[in-house]
């Protein structure tokens, strides 16, 4: 008995006990739901009845479902509208604010402050900017004699408006990540460039950009993955409308699963989302490899 326990002890098994509480919750509420969700996606199921195995039928149905395809296209478009603007503005801010002045510190705080607000507070704020009746922008338009623009109810403007709002809300994090990358570039390199009388553009092109390329790739990948998960902005500001013009994937999953209770089908859609996010997280890395080889 003691020999058996002693052997377990020597191999370090008791140390596993420290990790066990977390591993239990992790297995129960993250890994199991993920795997069970994959299983569920192969079933026709609703919340009230049983589930019937139907193989890949849900996935085939998804690709014939105009509403799903529209949501998929909206998500892709949303990411394409958001991420490049986010990355460029965040990098611009990081370059401009990478200095030890009081104004730069204040500005960094101000930019990041909007991202600590919850999505629900953020949408209340932005509805009062974008609303056609009484919004800040419509007040502004009236003041200079222009008609008010229906930012949230025009099918061509709804998604870009949500993207703009999202850029405002999420600018802080990529800026901070770029700043932390910039601070790791050794100061001596810049001093040498200054002695050579290099122009700011040359310095950026020859020194800064190569030094922060890893951060650039990382931020792009992270933001792609993050913005595919957009939900609160469309759900609260446009309800996905008009006519689904601003309904992204997560809103589609939510409506299918929790309004229509078609959970097997919604599970299939959420596997598609998961796959898309994994791809989005790896595409920038892949692009960087190819770029380097080219």
């Amino acid at each position: 008995m003691t020999g058996w326990l002693g052997r377990l002890n020597r191999q370090g098994w008791p140390n596993l006990l420290f990790a066990l509480p977390f591993l239990a919750v992790y297995a129960w509420l993250l890994i199991y739901p993920l795997l069970a969700g994959m299983g569920l996606s192969l079933h026709r199921a609703n919340l009230f009845g049983g589930a019937r195995f139907i193989g890949f039928e849900n996935y085939i149905r998804l690709f014939r479902d105009a509403t799903f395809l529209q949501a998929l296209a909206n998500s892709l478009l949303f990411v394409l509208m958001c991420v490049p603007v986010l990355v460029v503005l965040a990098l611009g801010l990081a370059l401009a604010l990478n200095r030890a002045t009081r104004f730069a510190a204040f500005m960094r705080s101000a930019v990041f402050a909007s991202s600590v607000l919850s999505v629900t507070v953020m949408t209340i704020i932005w509805r009062q900017i974008l609303a056609i009746d009484g919004g800040l922008l419509s007040h502004g338009a009236h003041a200079i004699g222009l008609p008010a623009v229906p930012f949230l109810s025009d099918p061509n403007l709804a998604l870009p408006s949500l993207a703009a709002v999202t850029v405002w809300w999420s600018l802080g994090l990529p800026m901070m990540l770029f700043l932390s990358a910039l601070q790791q570039v050794p100061r001596s390199v810049y001093e040498a460039a200054a002695l050579d009388r290099a122009t700011p553009w040359t310095v950026f092109r020859q020194i800064t950009l190569p030094a922060i390329t890893p951060a650039l790739v990382l931020v792009t990948a992270y933001e792609c993955a993050l913005q595919f998960q957009v939900f609160g902005q469309p759900q609260l500001l446009t309800q996905g409308g008009p006519n689904g013009a601003s309904r992204p994937l997560v809103l589609y999953i939510y409506e299918t699963g929790f309004n229509q209770w078609d959970i097997g089908y919604a599970a299939a859609a959420s596997q598609m989302l998961f796959a898309l996010i994994l791809v989005a997280a790896f595409v920038p890395q892949l692009a960087q490899r190819l770029w380097r080889r080219a």
Binding site: A113, V119, I124, A225, A267, S270
Partner: protein
């Protein structure tokens, strides 16, 4: 004037002016929506319903905030958020520091594989596990309870990653010293190593608090009874229902009151929040 001056200023100065202009525009864009909301929250409802441009000279009123004090549900939501966020922070710190100690400092069979599986969890979005997670809590009849709002937050692997890194960063010599004193694993953890991870714990704790306080997705699905709403979820219900009932001014005041606690937490602990988010992505 400037057109004449332009050819003679050096490139460096043009860049400096471009930088200032860029900063000014961005600052205005960042602050204008926030200031507009605060401004609206001090206006009367009648004033806000008129289509005419608002007069900057007033009238201003505190009525909207007074109305909030009479609103019992808002306090209830605030209390719910406080309970959920505080317990989530306590839970995440406990589970993550224990697991971080195991993965970062101790030896046991399968450690590296298990850690890899935990890290892989960072790639799993909450949205792709939602249907089965909802079922788990339905089967237990736990929806509309605090434990349903809290438990999923404890399954996120970010904290374990941050704490494992923190434990790894402590010099090895300190455990060896503790071992010479015949301290067991628990004593080493509690007396020697954990105190040195306090900065990491602070960053993780504050970040978790914000994440939990601001979470909209899970409360929306799990807490369907208004008495169990968190403040974040309640603000969603408020913006779709309350405008007609209480008026826009009250909604603006609610947004200010709901946004203020997180902004205060942010201003007080800015450094920790930035540490947590930059540490998180540096994986």
């Amino acid at each position: 004037m400037s057109a004449l001056a332009l050819p003679v200023v050096r490139g460096r100065q043009v860049w400096a002016w471009a930088r200032i202009a860029f900063c000014a525009v961005m600052l205005a864009l960042v602050l204008a929506p926030l200031l507009w909301t605060v401004f609206l929250s001090f206006r009367t409802n009648i004033d806000l319903l008129r289509q005419a441009p608002l007069d900057l000279r007033g009238p201003y009123t505190l009525d909207n905030y007074a109305e909030l004090l009479r609103n019992q549900t808002l306090f209830r939501w605030f209390f719910n958020s406080l309970v959920v966020s505080t317990v989530t922070v306590a839970g995440v710190l406990t589970l993550s520091s224990l697991a971080g100690y195991a993965f970062g400092r101790l030896e046991f069979p399968g450690r590296n594989w298990l850690y890899l599986i935990v890290l892989a969890g960072l790639a799993i979005p909450d949205q792709s596990v939602i249907l089965t997670r909802h079922q788990i809590f339905s089967d237990l009849h736990w929806h509309n309870t605090y434990r349903a709002l809290i438990l999923p937050g404890l399954s996120a692997p970010l904290g374990v990653f941050l704490m494992t890194e923190a434990f790894r960063a402590i010099p090895r010599a300190q455990d060896d010293a503790a071992r010479l004193d015949r301290a067991n694993a628990i004593a080493t953890f509690w007396h020697v190593l954990l105190p040195q991870t306090v900065p990491a714990l602070a960053s993780l704790g504050i970040y978790t608090f914000l994440l939990s306080w601001n979470d909209y997705w899970w409360p929306l699905i799990s807490a369907t009874r208004p008495s169990m709403y968190t403040l974040t979820e309640g603000m969603a219900a408020a913006q779709s229902n309350y405008v007609e009932v209480l008026g826009k001014g009250v909604l603006m005041a609610e947004a200010v009151v709901a946004g203020l606690p997180v902004l205060i937490v942010y201003i007080l602990f800015q450094k920790h929040i930035v540490n947590a988010v930059t540490g998180m992505v540096k994986l």
